[in-house]
Symmetry: C2
Subunit: 334 residues, 2 copies
DNA sequence: TTGAAAGCGCTAACAG
DNA sequence: CTGTTAGCGCTTTCAA
């Protein structure tokens, strides 16, 4: 910047004003400065800038999801990015992989870079460390799950009701032996879905068979193994409920085969996924919309950054049971 | 930091040394400082830090992809993020949506934040603006496509050969009327794939029918429409080649229907996609591995950041024809 | 082992 | 309309 000032024969302040498009510079002078900037390839150093403009925004936010490679979170991320762009904001991203240690690391790295705000998919465990950042002025919005020990805006979906409706749907068709295939129980959303599963049974005065319940499935392959186990039981389930996209796809791997006839087991999965409608039979799912979720979270965050100090809000978005076929397979007559 | 120093009764320098884990501080003093840090909730301001430590790294890189919501780029991003973490580096992300203006904007925003390096999926058009950043010390690696007017490490796949093999495969089974469904021609990778398509014909002394060629498909819906058009022709194609995942899925939408019989048209798509193996028939694809691509790009970038000044390298990864069924449908006898 | 002084690149606040 | 001065929070350099 000093070089530019020298080259244009003006002071640092004038260059600063031109660079920031501030008024009060003679067009002629400005033009001279612009030329010098271009000739020297000068670019403003935002680090130094933010340092001086204290209390000002860095126009950077952090987004911490579970796994960026999961299409659900990828779509959510894209929505956040688009919203950020409207606010001239860049986005730092990180995946926590459901590890609290990793989440802390990433949050810390983001905050050291003085992000204006953070959108977090909180893993299990206490989030008091986020409270500290809030006190330092970082705005925080939680997505997909609430954070323990934290007062922050939160965007959720009605997991319990979604799962309830899915299982209700299976019960309505006469299924009684309904298997549950689920991710880690310590994930809030998963726990809620399992609650919904159980409640649907309870509403009919029934109780799910514990032999048909599998928790802790962390990968598609895990889910495939678990589904195959259930199917192989002496008295197998006539229907399956899968707690998220990964598990549903793993279950599809077990049930759908291109070479042999598809297993005659009904299936409803939580989460929409690509081509669910093109399988044979197409997969009935409880759909949530990651784009709306991300956009909502971003809207809340930028509201806070803009100065909204109202009490923390909890937004609960609706899920939608998408009936396609796999959930409408009748139980085999026994 | 000043507050911490005061609270611990030491100078700023001592605090700085403790914060950075530098040697030469009495354990006793360090403990006192640590306590003050914890009590005051102090966190180092990396902005100020980087400002002073000139010539040092910001431990931040930028990643600019076409569309983060696309599973291919999501997986690539995740690979880059994982590599970055090994180098204690955070990642800024952005989607260009194939717009040069947007790419420039994002690159500029990243560079103003003084990223150490940039991994870019370059859109069409001159990338001289990236040259300027290189001159300023930002390391640049291109992925998926080379950048015009730029000397930088580049990670590609053998698009032309991949497409050639796909079409070769269709020709080998007797198909002659093979339709081409493609994204925008100004995208390098797409152009290469179209070249491969044409070359496969040429190798047999054939020429593709121009009536069966559709360029510029930007969305799944575009592809569906185009595929339906081709199928509806008086003399329709007996096979289709789709130039990328989005187009392949759109074509699947046109060909595969859960209610009626699948259209008897062979299909080979470029890019792997989830559940391709579970459709009926499963989809034959030319697979590339986004994780390896991202990891390779990151490896090159961190090598450069670490000081590698050898001439720019071009890494070409292989594609793999995954034969599954949809590409092995014989042409209808005429 | 610790501290004081200087300054990174920029902008706020005030002069001219 | 333009410039001067001071200082953001930290680290480098040198001295104690």
């Amino acid at each position: 910047m000093r070089d530019v000032a020298a080259a244009a024969g003006v002071s640092l302040m004038t260059v600063s004003r031109v660079v920031n498009g501030e008024p009060g510079v003679q067009p002629e002078t400005a033009a001279r400065v612009e030329r010098a900037i271009r000739r020297l390839g000068y670019q403003r150093n935002d680090m130094a800038r933010q340092l001086r403009r204290k209390g000002q925004l860095t126009e950077t936010i952090g987004l911490l999801v579970d796994d960026l490679a999961n299409p659900f979170f990828a779509a959510l991320t894209r929505a956040v990015e688009d919203a950020a762009r409207l606010h001239d904001c860049v986005v730092l991203i990180g995946s926590s992989n459901d590890s609290l240690a990793r989440e802390k690391e990433v949050v810390s790295a983001f905050c050291a870079r003085r992000v204006d705000g953070l959108i977090v998919v909180p893993v299990a465990g206490s989030h008091r460390f986020l409270k500290e950042q809030q006190d330092l002025g970082v705005k925080v919005v939680c997505v997909d799950r609430p954070a323990d020990n934290l007062d922050a805006d939160t965007v959720l979906v009605d997991n319990r009701r979604g799962a309830y409706q899915a299982v209700r749907h299976l019960l309505d068709q006469g299924h009684r032996r309904i298997g549950y295939l689920g991710d880690r129980e310590d994930i809030w959303a998963i726990r809620e879905r399992f609650e919904g599963f159980t409640e649907a049974f309870a509403a009919d005065g029934l109780v799910p068979d514990p032999a048909l319940i599998r928790h802790g499935l962390r990968s598609r392959a895990d889910a495939t193994r678990a589904a195959e186990e259930l199917i192989g039981l002496a008295s197998p389930p006539t229907a399956l409920f899968a707690s998220n996209d990964l598990v549903t796809m793993g279950t599809v791997d077990a049930l759908y085969s291109s070479s042999r006839q598809r297993e005659a087991v009904a299936l409803v999965g939580f989460d929409e996924f690509a081509l669910a409608d093109k399988l044979t039979p197409p997969v009935t799912v409880v759909a949530q919309d990651p784009t709306t979720i991300g956009a909502t979270a971003a809207q809340l965050l930028f509201g806070r950054i803009a100065g909204d100090t109202s009490p923390a809000r909890e937004v609960v978005l609706l899920t939608r049971l998408v009936i396609r076929g796999s959930g409408e397979i009748a139980p085999a007559v026994s």
